[in-house]
């Protein structure tokens, strides 16, 4: 019927739609590749003492690609697809959805706040090397102030700036990799890529370190309504993002082990910390290459900080709109449209943690950057495991024509793989933190998520009995506005 009518509506709405490269740039920039290569991988070697970091990145990339199959397929059929808890609500029910939402709020906050430690330490060292006299927490607070202001003003890094930075980071990392591999300590060895590491002790720690490096890729589905062809653009962008970041991380972590020798990588990482990659290449490259790399490392950390800040603010906004969390969080700034309340709450929480760390004089890299971001990574791992199970449950109940691979086989395999990683991670959390196996800390961090989930479950119960209208709208996000007057239709026809 549409053939006989002009279609200026579709033409107008198609303006400014995103293609595959744009979506990739947005999500990979949030993952901040140079932060992972120079910060995450090196600290991962040092803290966990596991040499299988490179192979972990590749294994995790494969698992996440598998996870994405069902995740992307389901994202086209639900509203509010930008948030994991929307998947869980539709797949496993509303109580599980609220529990997931609580876990997500804790996990993304942890990702963001932990990054302040990395940013503060790296920037202060960079400045101190140039004759300044500053401390990590001063630099972290400066970044905090900038993020707090940009958050309320709703200023995100411009797509072109992000693309420019991202390409710079990739080029620098690849040049460094080539330099490191061409100057091996004792011949080019592939020890750290051996699949046997997957069964070695401490691999759980290495795998969750790797997962932490990918967090952000799940954001592709947020853009589904803004892409030229959601059916094609979103899945492809997701797979490509996972593949290129996985290869870059794996290759870079491996190249470092080649340059130090596989048997010395843990020791070298412990001594040099986040300087390792720069120290390894500096004898063979001009100093300007090193400076560019260090500056990009800092900007990459900042981009990740800002990106996760916006993620948390939007989660709080969506939950406030649903009134699952106080409705005040659903408020936006008049002039900028920023999710102002959510942004301020995130900034206040971050400030509290930063001040606590500064007073306690804890190590910004190990205790803040690594511990807290991998705890965030653990939370996202929980989210992805539950989401993957939700995909199976959802498609088992929903008529579809997506075929068994997308709706059953891949989601089941992904759930099993993620569940296995989750189990070993929690078993080996002492290795991950680098603490004694008797330390209560090994339970304290995972327990935070158990508490969050429990609070979510109980809150869902309270909502069901005391505010049924709110309970019905759980998981609808911005769409919850229509819930009181229409039967909510959370399942939509795929675009």
């Amino acid at each position: 019927m549409s053939q006989s009518h002009p279609d200026t509506v579709s033409a107008v709405l198609a303006r400014g739609r995103l293609g595959i490269p744009a979506v990739i740039f947005f999500v990979v920039a949030a993952a901040a590749p140079l932060t992972v290569v120079a910060g995450g991988a090196t600290t991962g070697y040092a803290v966990t003492g596991v040499v299988g970091i490179p192979v972990s990145y590749l294994v995790v990339a494969a698992v996440l690609a598998l996870f994405s199959v069902g995740y992307v397929a389901m994202s086209r059929r639900i509203v509010n697809a930008g948030a994991f808890y929307a998947f869980v609500t539709r797949g496993l029910g509303r109580p599980a959805g609220v529990a997931t939402a609580m876990i997500a709020v804790v996990a993304y906050n942890a990702m963001q706040i932990g990054l302040y430690g990395g940013f503060g330490a790296v920037l202060s060292q960079y400045l101190n090397d140039r004759g300044w006299d500053t401390t990590w927490w001063l630099c972290a607070l400066a970044a905090w102030a900038a993020v707090a202001v940009l958050g309320v003003l709703r200023i995100d890094l411009n797509g072109k700036v992000l693309a420019f930075m991202l390409i710079g980071e990739f080029v620098v990392a690849l040049i460094y990799d080539v330099v490191m591999v061409s100057h091996p300590a004792d011949g080019i060895k592939f020890d750290t890529l051996a699949p046997s590491h997957i069964l070695a002790t401490g691999i759980g720690a290495a795998l969750v370190t790797a997962i932490t490096g990918f967090v952000g890729f799940e954001g592709t589905v947020v853009f589904s309504e803004e892409t030229k062809d959601p059916k094609r653009t979103v899945p492809r962008a997701t797979y490509i993002a996972v593949a290129i970041t996985g290869l870059l991380y794996g290759a870079s972590a491996w190249a470092m082990s080649v340059a130090t020798g596989p048997d010395k990588i843990v020791e070298a990482a412990s001594t040099d910390g986040t300087d390792l990659i720069f120290n390894l290449v500096s004898p063979h490259l001009g100093s300007s290459f090193i400076t560019v790399g260090r500056v990009l490392f800092i900007t990459s950390l900042f981009a990740a900080l800002l990106s996760f800040h916006h993620t948390v603010a939007r989660y709080l906004f969506a939950l406030g709109r649903e009134r699952v969390l106080p409705a005040m969080l659903g408020r936006t700034s008049l002039r900028t449209g920023a999710p102002k309340a959510g942004s301020i709450v995130q900034s206040v929480v971050a400030l509290g943690v930063l001040v606590g760390y500064a007073i306690a004089d804890a190590d910004p890299i190990v205790h803040l950057f690594f511990w807290i971001t991998v705890t965030g990574g653990l939370g996202v791992l929980v989210l992805m495991t539950v989401t993957s199970a939700s995909v199976i449950a959802f498609f088992a109940r929903t008529a579809n024509s997506d075929g068994p691979w997308r709706t059953k086989i891949a989601p089941v395999l992904a759930t099993l793989a993620l569940g296995a990683i989750l189990t070993v991670t929690i078993q080996q959390f002492d290795t991950l933190l680098g603490v004694e196996s008797t330390s209560p800390l090994r339970w304290a961090f995972p327990a935070a998520y158990a508490v969050a989930a429990l609070v979510g479950l109980m809150w869902a119960g309270v909502l069901r009995s005391s505010r049924p209208a709110v309970y019905r709208a759980i998981g609808l996000g911005a769409e919850s506005a229509t819930a009181p007057i229409r039967t909510p239709d959370p399942v939509r026809q795929p675009a």
Binding site: M1, S2, H5, P6, D7, T8, V9, S10, V12, L13, R15, F26, N80, G82, R154, I155, D156, L157, N158, G159, V222, F223, E225, E226, R314, F317, A318, R321, G330, R331, T332, S333, L334, R335, T336, G337, A338, P339, G477, A478, E479, A481, T482, P484, I485, R486
Partner: protein
């Protein structure tokens, strides 16, 4: 000039005591005494009554104007809103050229029925169109404004009392817990969806916001339907924002 146009039943409010800017007689076409339409009033509400600078961020203004244009057609009985769908009921062309234009598109492209789709479509052009309508009515004058290397066009109200009338009226009626007529209810509803209620009810006790909420909950179903879609559109714009 202080009596707002088309408002025989409305009390006269002097909201500003300073001398009023006099409108250039050459720019006044149609005269400022023509009745204001819903989108016109929302436009005034969303911009400063003196300088014409926006009070709101662009996407909220644009969506609000789009909803106001649809609500004009709804009030004129041309279209109906039901469960997120927009149904054309009456093909007769409206008198106003902008309403006519919007209705013509709705009729010409019946393959699009979702209110959300039409809100998104109209939001792309609504600002310019409503500004033009106001200019032709002599209510605003487009003025070039330079700010930070960018030249933008702002629409400066010709009569500050006409411009301030919408929020002054809503503010007063709501603070007195009065009942609102459909026109004012729609205006207040759209204002609330774009969060302009923060501005209109600035400093008012919480019971006033509760009064507005109750009024909107009791609004006619088609109006609530349109406002729910507007809420969703604005919320989604927050969630998928990028620069």
């Amino acid at each position: 000039m202080t009596t707002p146009p088309g408002a025989d039943d409305r009390p006269t409010v002097h909201v500003h005591t300073e001398p009023m800017p006099t409108a250039d007689p050459h720019t006044v076409r149609g005269g400022p005494h023509q009745p204001m339409l819903l989108a016109d009033e929302f436009f005034m509400l969303a911009h400063d009554d003196q300088t014409g600078r926006p009070r709101l961020h662009d996407s909220a203004t644009n969506y609000g104007l789009a909803a106001a244009l649809l609500a004009e057609l709804g009030a004129a009985g041309r279209i109906h809103f039901n469960r997120g769908q927009l149904v054309v009921q009456d093909h007769r062309p409206p008198e106003d050229w902008l309403q006519h234009m919007v209705l013509a598109r709705l009729i010409a492209e019946p393959q699009h029925t979702a209110t959300r789709t039409w809100l998104a479509y109209l939001s792309a052009t609504a600002h310019e169109q409503v500004a033009t309508r106001l200019w032709q009515g002599g209510k605003v004058v487009p003025t070039q404004s330079r700010r930070l290397f960018r030249t933008t066009t702002i629409h400066v109200p010709t009569d500050i009392n006409v411009a301030a009338w919408s929020w002054a009226r809503l503010s007063q009626k709501l603070r007195r817990h009065e009942h609102l007529k459909p026109f004012d209810l729609a205006l207040a509803g759209i204002a609330r969806s774009v969060r302009l209620d923060q501005f209109i009810l600035d400093g008012a006790p919480l019971s006033v916001s509760a009064h507005l909420r109750r009024l909107l909950e009791a609004a006619p179903p088609p109006m609530r339907d349109l406002l729910a879609d507007l809420d969703t559109a604005i919320g989604s714009a927050v969630l998928s924002h990028r620069t």
